[in-house]
């Protein structure tokens, strides 16, 4: 099945959408998105600890996008904004979903997939240890990320990271990441 960006975007827009964006991911956009989502969360019925988690995980996922977005080749640039990414924050029943999408080079797929699979295989205590280890021993990369983003997201949400890679062409895959924050059951 050929990859269709619109189809992916529609699928990401399920549930009650708090915010949906596709286009260039830059610092101003991040500031605006955080502003909008924060005020929407203020009005939401969720308990404050859940709102905080959603906000904090949103910061991390947006900045992950910001630091890792690829420069697209010429023929793709005609179709997509520079630093193209997708973000949808939605609510379904007792959970919030933060869904991001961006193009990654085919050569990076394997590494990213292994990293997420590893994170998903860990228990909460193991994640906590991994977080502390990376925090203490790994240098910040040129891209500004500390390699901690996904670990932090998994640790804070307590949920598995859901992802898919869809082939776009020989050089690029479209990477979709779904992060879930669940309301505590009473």
């Amino acid at each position: 099945m050929a990859f269709n960006i619109q189809q992916s975007y529609s699928k990401m827009n399920e549930g009650e959408v708090l915010l949906a964006y596709k286009g260039s991911i830059n610092t101003d956009l991040i500031t605006n998105v955080l502003d909008v989502v924060e005020s929407k969360l203020e009005d939401a019925r969720s308990v404050s600890s859940v709102k905080k988690k959603v906000y904090s995980v949103l910061v991390e996922s947006l900045q992950n996008l910001y630091h890792h977005i690829e420069d697209l080749p010429g023929d793709m640039k005609e179709q997509f904004d520079t630093r193209f990414g997708i973000l949808v924050v939605s609510r379904m029943d007792d959970l919030y979903r933060i869904s991001t999408g961006n193009f990654v080079r085919s050569s990076k797929v394997k590494h990213l997939k292994e990293k997420i699979d590893k994170i998903n295989s860990l228990t909460r205590d193991e994640l906590k240890d991994m977080y502390k280890f990376v925090l203490n021993y790994q240098k910040i990369t040129d891209k500004g990320g500390g390699g901690l983003g996904l670990i932090d997201i998994a640790k804070k949400t307590g949920n598995k990271l859901e992802y898919s890679f869809q082939k776009y062409n020989n050089d690029y895959y479209f990477f979709n990441l779904n992060i879930y924050v669940t309301e505590p059951s009473e």
């Binding site: 500031t31 308990v47 404050s48 910061v59 906590k128 500004g144 901690l148 804070k156």
Partner: protein
């Protein structure tokens, strides 16, 4: 030594570093895309401060949010403070967190376990 005084912004905390009084304070949100750039003056300041610290240094961290990029820089600050502590100078670290914010409490505990200076955890009631 000149103090550092910075007002907070939507992505950066307010900062008060005062060598004479031995007070180091960071409050608010720390979610800049480039945290290294933001924290560099503070790391440099502590480097100089550690050569001649006050008899007692009181450190107040009152963060609402911080991103993982900041978390590494905050650890750098704590490591400088740990060095002062090792020279048998008193360093008191107060880690404030909002009621029910278990993630922020846990973040404080993580730092405490890495740098080996006892933290005082202070829970604040929600406004």
């Amino acid at each position: 030594m000149d103090p550092i005084i910075m007002e907070g912004s939507p992505k950066t905390p307010s900062v008060r570093f005062n060598a004479e009084k031995g007070i180091i304070e960071i409050k608010g949100r720390s979610i800049p895309e480039n945290a290294i750039e933001f924290y560099k003056p503070m790391v440099d300041w502590l480097d100089e401060y550690s050569r001649n610290p006050a008899k007692e240094t009181v450190v107040n961290f009152q963060l609402e949010y911080f991103n993982t990029s900041s978390s590494k820089c905050i650890l750098d600050l704590f490591k400088k403070l740990e060095a002062i502590h090792k020279e048998s100078r008193s360093v008191i670290i107060n880690w404030y967190y909002e009621e029910d914010d278990e993630d922020m409490l846990e973040a404080g505990e993580d730092y405490e376990s890495i740098i080996r200076i006892p933290f005082t955890m202070i829970e604040m009631e929600e406004q």
